[in-house]
């Protein structure tokens, strides 16, 4: 696979001094059902700096998409954001009015969805699905907006963009649909991009092209990218920092080299062990740790990973299954949520 440009570590360290673009504190999103409440996102903290790529990884159902939706305030009933703060550029998104939030979406924070085909309106030409943002958000006349849309399609690598703009979504391949979604997300030059598994359904070449498109944008426009993915190969290639999510919580967060060199949380270790050795990261998936993801919300106390944890031993087990471990800082920019690293009195 094509290697993607990565900025050297020295340069990245400077980011610590930048002001964060997004700062999430104690975010909690629940779904009500007949069987009770399911906490899909729990006590979630997340910080994103301008121009960086933060990978959000975790196995299916751990709450990555719900986190992404929460950041956009697009969680739909029966889901609800219960508590927390989402501070974007100094403003708490959870206190904005509906109107203010609508104005912010697309223009400040944009999203690329997990299902590119399903996310395009089947009865609207793709050109107008891009152009409508210029028309409705920027008050541009149709002809001018259409021209900009065609320009964007060219930039995301759609051949024959002028003609293709007139096509309907069903006439696109999966890769083309994902490019169109990307063009839609980039249209209003947002400062934060949230990409929910943007490349899952695509073949390796197209996947690399789309990822390059996104990361180049981060470098050139100082756009921040939250990249939700299953794929540790992708993480190794493009991420600056990684947040590992398990059962609704972030269990470990670290710069990408640190995470691969020195994984601390037993879950992260399990993930990395599940990877075949060598550089064939792209084939690896996360679901290979024995045991199953716990049913969310059933066991609000204790560490969600306790049942599957290889590190849990007699002395710890009690605590592991009765008390949720706090977030512990183990190195510069490296935090983890595990009792092993929490020596009672420390921090």
């Amino acid at each position: 696979m094509t290697a993607l440009n990565r900025i050297p570590i020295a340069e990245r360290d400077v980011q610590e001094e930048k002001l964060p673009l997004l700062q999430v504190r104690g975010l909690r999103t629940c779904f009500e059902s007949h069987y009770g409440s399911v906490t899909a996102v729990n006590e979630l903290d997340l910080t994103v700096y301008p121009g960086e790529v933060l990978a959000l990884v975790g196995e299916s159902g751990c709450g990555k998409s719900v986190t992404a939706m929460s950041l956009m305030r697009l969680v739909e009933a029966p889901g609800r954001i219960e508590s927390g703060q989402i501070s974007f550029d100094g403003r708490d998104l959870l206190t904005l009015s509906t109107q203010e939030m609508t104005e912010l979406r697309g223009a400040e924070i944009a999203m690329i969805f997990q299902q590119p085909k399903g996310s395009l309106n089947p009865v609207k030409r793709i050109g107008s699905q891009i152009a409508e943002q210029f028309e409705r958000r920027r008050g541009m006349p149709h002809a001018k907006a259409w021209k900009l849309a065609v320009g964007l399609l060219e930039r995301v690598g759609i051949p024959g963009a002028a003609e293709k703009a007139k096509a309907y979504p069903h006439q696109l391949s999966g890769g083309q649909a994902q490019r169109v979604m990307t063009a839609i997300a980039l249209a209003l030059e947002p400062r934060l991009l949230i990409a929910d598994e943007p490349t899952t359904a695509l073949d390796v070449t197209v996947q690399a092209q789309i990822l390059r498109l996104l990361t180049e944008r981060c470098r050139s426009h100082q756009t921040a990218l939250i990249l939700v993915t299953h794929d540790l190969g992708v993480v190794a290639q493009v991420a600056d920092r990684v947040a590992v999510m398990y059962a609704g919580r972030i269990v470990e967060e670290a710069p990408v080299e640190t995470l691969f060199a020195n994984p601390s949380h037993p879950y992260t270790r399990g993930l990395l062990n599940a990877i075949p050795r060598g550089n064939h990261y792209s084939e690896s998936r996360l679901e290979e740790i024995p045991g199953t993801v716990p049913v969310l919300g059933r066991n609000p106390e204790g560490c969600g990973f306790a049942d599957r944890c290889q590190a849990s031993y007699a002395g710890r087990l009690n605590q592991c299954s009765t008390q949720t471990p706090p977030t512990t800082r183990i190195a510069q920019g490296h935090t983890t949520r595990c009792w092993i690293y929490h020596s009672g009195d420390a921090q």
């Binding site: 609508t102 979406r105 969805f113 399903g118 309106n121 089947p122 609207k124 069903h170 839609i184």
Partner: protein, 310 residues
């Protein structure tokens, strides 16, 4: 698109031939012998035999049925629907202006039905489980279960007898208001339900969430992104409902004294005027086929996924 339209028209031709065949055989189904009906009370016993023979020849009744059918079809194609047995006037003269009246009534009703039905369905879906939804659902349940004639009588009672806003039998547009609303509101009921369920389906789709993520206003999301998709289901139903609408129009015309083909049909049946009955059925069925043709074309126009090449 042109190719698609031609294709649809070609498919409609055998259907129209079938209708012609059916109306042609209506004569046979009418209990009174056609020739007797023609001559009832007009000739004496003695003249009868010769006259009947003449008449049979004049109306080609002496020829085998398939020849009669060919003659019938070519007459219809020339716009000759025969003459009324009762008035001896060309059926075309009688049916022409009445057909216009019926179209006026059904299309006003359709306009009312579609706007009320679709709007209430859309709002019911958007405000699901609120009082708006409950109200819309209750009214549509009423609309579906109340027979047209009863609803018509209620409207007359309320607006003409009690409130005296509109004369019972009005003329011109005044006469159109009550029957059009009566038929339109009844038509709105099933459309509202279809629109609601189609909208509920569409509102749960990923592209609606994507439209919100683009920062589209709720009204834009609802009417520009969701509604066009939901309309696909509604348009199909409209085509099927036109049959109901025409059937309903017949009853409504009689109740409100609206001079359309429905009223004519009821009179014609009473007078055993089979040429008129035949013509009314032909025109009604032809309209149904035509409307469904238009609906098919409309559907292809809204939904880009339909392959127009076939």
């Amino acid at each position: 698109m042109v190719y698609y339209i031609i294709h649809r028209i070609l498919i409609a031709i055998p259907v129209i031939l079938g209708i012609l065949l059916l109306t042609f055989f209506i004569k046979a189904a009418i209990p009174t012998d056609a020739v007797t009906a023609l001559y009832e009370g007009q000739v004496t016993e003695g003249e009868a035999a010769e006259a009947i023979a003449n008449i049979r020849a004049k109306y080609h009744l002496d020829k085998p049925w398939y020849q009669q059918f060919v003659i019938y079809v070519s007459d219809v194609a020339r716009g000759d629907l025969g003459e009324s047995i009762r008035t001896r006037q060309p059926v075309m003269d009688e049916i022409g202006y009445r057909y216009v009246n019926t179209l006026l009534l059904t299309f006003s009703a359709l306009a009312i039905g579609v706007s009320v039905g679709v709007l209430s369905g859309v709002l019911a879906a958007y405000y699901k489980d609120t009082w708006i939804d409950v109200t819309a659902t209750t009214f549509s349940l009423f609309g579906i279960s109340i027979p047209a004639f009863f609803f018509g009588l209620v409207l007359i009672l309320v607006f003409s007898v009690w409130l005296r806003w509109i004369p019972v039998i009005g003329s011109g547009w005044q006469g159109l208001i009550l029957p059009a609303f009566c038929l339109g509101l009844i038509e709105a009921a099933p459309l509202s339900r279809i629109a609601r369920s189609a909208m509920l389906d569409v509102l749960g789709r990923d592209y609606i969430r994507a439209a919100r993520a683009k920062g589209m206003r709720e009204s834009t999301v609802l009417f520009r992104h969701a509604l066009p998709n939901a309309l696909l289901a509604v348009v199909t139903i409209i085509g099927l409902q036109v049959g109901n609408l025409l059937g309903g129009a017949f009853i409504i015309e009689v109740i409100f004294g609206w001079h359309g083909i429905g009223e004519l049909a009821v009179q014609a049946i009473q007078w055993r005027d089979f040429t008129i009955t035949q013509a009314v059925i032909l025109v009604g069925a032809g309209t149904y086929v035509l409307v469904n043709l238009i609906v098919d074309i409309l559907y292809a126009w809204i939904d880009p996924r339909i392959n127009l090449g076939t």
